[in-house]
Symmetry: C3
Subunit: 290 residues, 3 copies
């Protein structure tokens, strides 16, 4: 931790207990999460949801999605392979989940990379009250600032969050939260989870996670479970989910041997989510609050 402007609170016992409680609430209540998500990483999202203690259901036809979302605890909308059939399902399911008071998370995959993605994400935000919007810095900037320099589904290098830019990014996230009413989760090497007043800076994770497809999608899916089980603590629940994903990335990395690569790493990350408990989370979470 080099930045002197940020106060480290890694040892804040109360905060650690809170994160652990978020995890345990998921395991104790098995929230049913409705996912309208992409077909690239959907299987990993389902297994990650089961691993963390939630229960997944996928439904993306507009008629089906309306009924399914009503029996769920929360809704996860991921635009990774959006199309003209699933966009109306996202909107309708979102409106119904909203009217039922369900927490809803948006993962604007590739916002900024195509007009359809950027405009769909914006339309969703205009019509649905999201509890959480989670993306990389390029995606969130595309939504907040109208810029479009996203490189595919990964953050553009020009947007990189560094120790130097961190204070500005925190302010940007708090402002965008203030504007949207959603907790903003900007994930990358350093994760910023902010509402309009408070931000968690999380330093869990491992660079090799970027060599697996779907770590972001899996994080959004398990965040869906965390906010479903912790509806009064959306910010803390989101921060807990982000710590969980990053910590499991670290723990899984330690299991790898010289012959293992990204496929085994993917399996081990989901395995770690399956085996994580509150005690391990308290030991491994690396965060501060600003």
């Amino acid at each position: 931790m080099k930045s002197t402007e940020l106060t480290a609170k890694y040892e804040n016992k109360e905060e650690l207990e809170m994160l652990a409680k978020m995890l345990e609430n998921v395991r104790n209540t098995t929230p049913l999460v409705h996912n309208i998500t992409n077909y690239v990483t959907v299987n990993d999202c389902a297994n990650a949801l089961l691993a963390c203690g939630g229960s997944p259901i996928m439904a993306d036809d507009v008629e089906d999605a309306k009924d399914i979302t009503a029996i769920c605890t929360s809704l996860n909308i991921n635009i990774g392979t959006l199309n003209k059939n699933t966009i109306p399902a996202m909107l309708e399911a979102g409106k119904i989940a909203d009217s039922l008071g369900h927490p809803i998370i948006l993962d604007p995959v590739g916002a900024g990379a195509s007009k359809l993605r950027t405009e769909t994400a914006k339309t969703l935000i205009e019509n649905i009250h999201f509890s959480v919007i989670r993306g990389n810095i390029s995606e969130i900037k595309a939504l907040a600032l109208g810029e479009g320099n996203t490189k595919g589904v990964d953050a553009d290098v020009a947007d990189a969050v560094t120790e130097e830019t961190l204070p500005n990014v925190v302010k940007f996230a708090k402002d965008f939260s203030d504007k949207t009413g959603a907790v903003i989760a900007i994930t990358g090497a350093i994760d910023i989870i902010a509402d309009s007043n408070k931000a968690y800076l999380i330093r869990n994770g491992h660079p090799m996670m970027s060599k697996i497809t779907g770590t972001g999608c899996m994080l959004s899916a398990i965040t869906g479970a965390y906010i479903g089980a912790n509806q009064e603590n959306i910010l803390e629940a989101t921060a807990a989910a982000v710590c969980v994903m990053g910590l499991c990335g670290e723990r899984a990395y330690k299991r790898l041997n010289a012959n293992d690569g990204n496929s085994t790493y993917r399996n081990y990350i989901i395995d770690e989510i399956y085996n994580l408990n509150g005690e391990k989370l308290k030991e491994g979470a690396k965060f501060e609050i600003v």
Copy 2:
């Protein structure tokens, strides 16, 4: 086995030989199975089909599905992520497969959880002669009794099959088989595989299988291969497939170490299906006939 009303026949050598023969017929004939299935678990279904000795093909556009089903041995219809484009493909492929005398299995994922799922499953049953209908107790009850209390894609607790309710569930399955002409496979902690006269009660499996997405879908897919290779013995072929899946769940569980979780477990289950042979099946099958 506590129920005194049910006669245990675990040691029935003739039945064990029959199950082993079902397995070997799959390995010897490599049935090509057309799957119209959900995008959540489709990759695992394809690998499970290859593992058991079958060959998978997926086609869900109505024009494509009609041609593809004609060159296959059997058809597996799974409504897990049904939509307005795939429902007509299910109907048309089903009618063609039916007219060609192909065995067809229905997996009514989430029937009872949404109107679209329940009605689609009913429409399919009205228009296609299924050889097998396989689901959890909540899904099968939704189809047979018109009730709708399915909790997502898992069985509702109120529907749980216990030793006490087992005789009633067996009668229910036999009656629904009589009505539909299909073998009814109700899977859960205890599996009931019934035609109108005879039922297998199967006690293979492991509770951790419910922590993987797609064990039910994989079972339906491999049942597609088993009924394709054993068209004169649909009941026995289905019972064999159910034993295989459960036994592989048991065997895979024994391979797990303390760090493994549901993702590794998924891989090991498919691996066990790949390595299973008639001898292992005869040693491990746990069933009785009522």
Copy 3:
């Protein structure tokens, strides 16, 4: 190597260096590959692309695909689960990628097995300049000769490439390359990678690769990265990708223990792609040029 008509050049040092250079160019430039592919194997394709050093993005709605393909390096079109919504996306993305000079690969999965697949593949070839067309012998014959005896997604036995038929198949591949302007990659026990003048015969691989769904799809995806990073050497780039996939199949097979099956094998193949470098490729590549 039994055929006396073919000259072995396994020790051609210049060719080996060229293949290794193809690999290193991928790792050094991280080509972004747009994939319009099937939902069965898409996750493995994405992880294989990341493993080889590329970056995947999937977009199959026609509006989205047009924008996404423009920001990519190359395009991979796989018709494995084509439908009426994705076919226009294939055509439009192909035309745009073509106009931008992006290398494009076609994987005509199941051509010959259904009218829709055969006709779609032909329409794509008529309207788009493909750099590479990769399929099994049955699929390529269906496109070149108009025959239709493909058995599902696997090559028909009648079409098997043997030492005896190899010279004829090489001539066929060269002729079809001459007609289409694309490098033709016919993969199977022996792989033939040909332009109109030169063919690589590649003998890497392991028979167990046919027990995994998606080895062909993964190969097409990583070929997309290889041709993206080596636009001046499409033939050599394709040959390198084919050697990589086969060699990783061999190396992964050696890691298997007695309890492992096709699911672990799939993971190990992707792991091997992740860990492969130019040195290992030069040691393991088995090919000759005719």
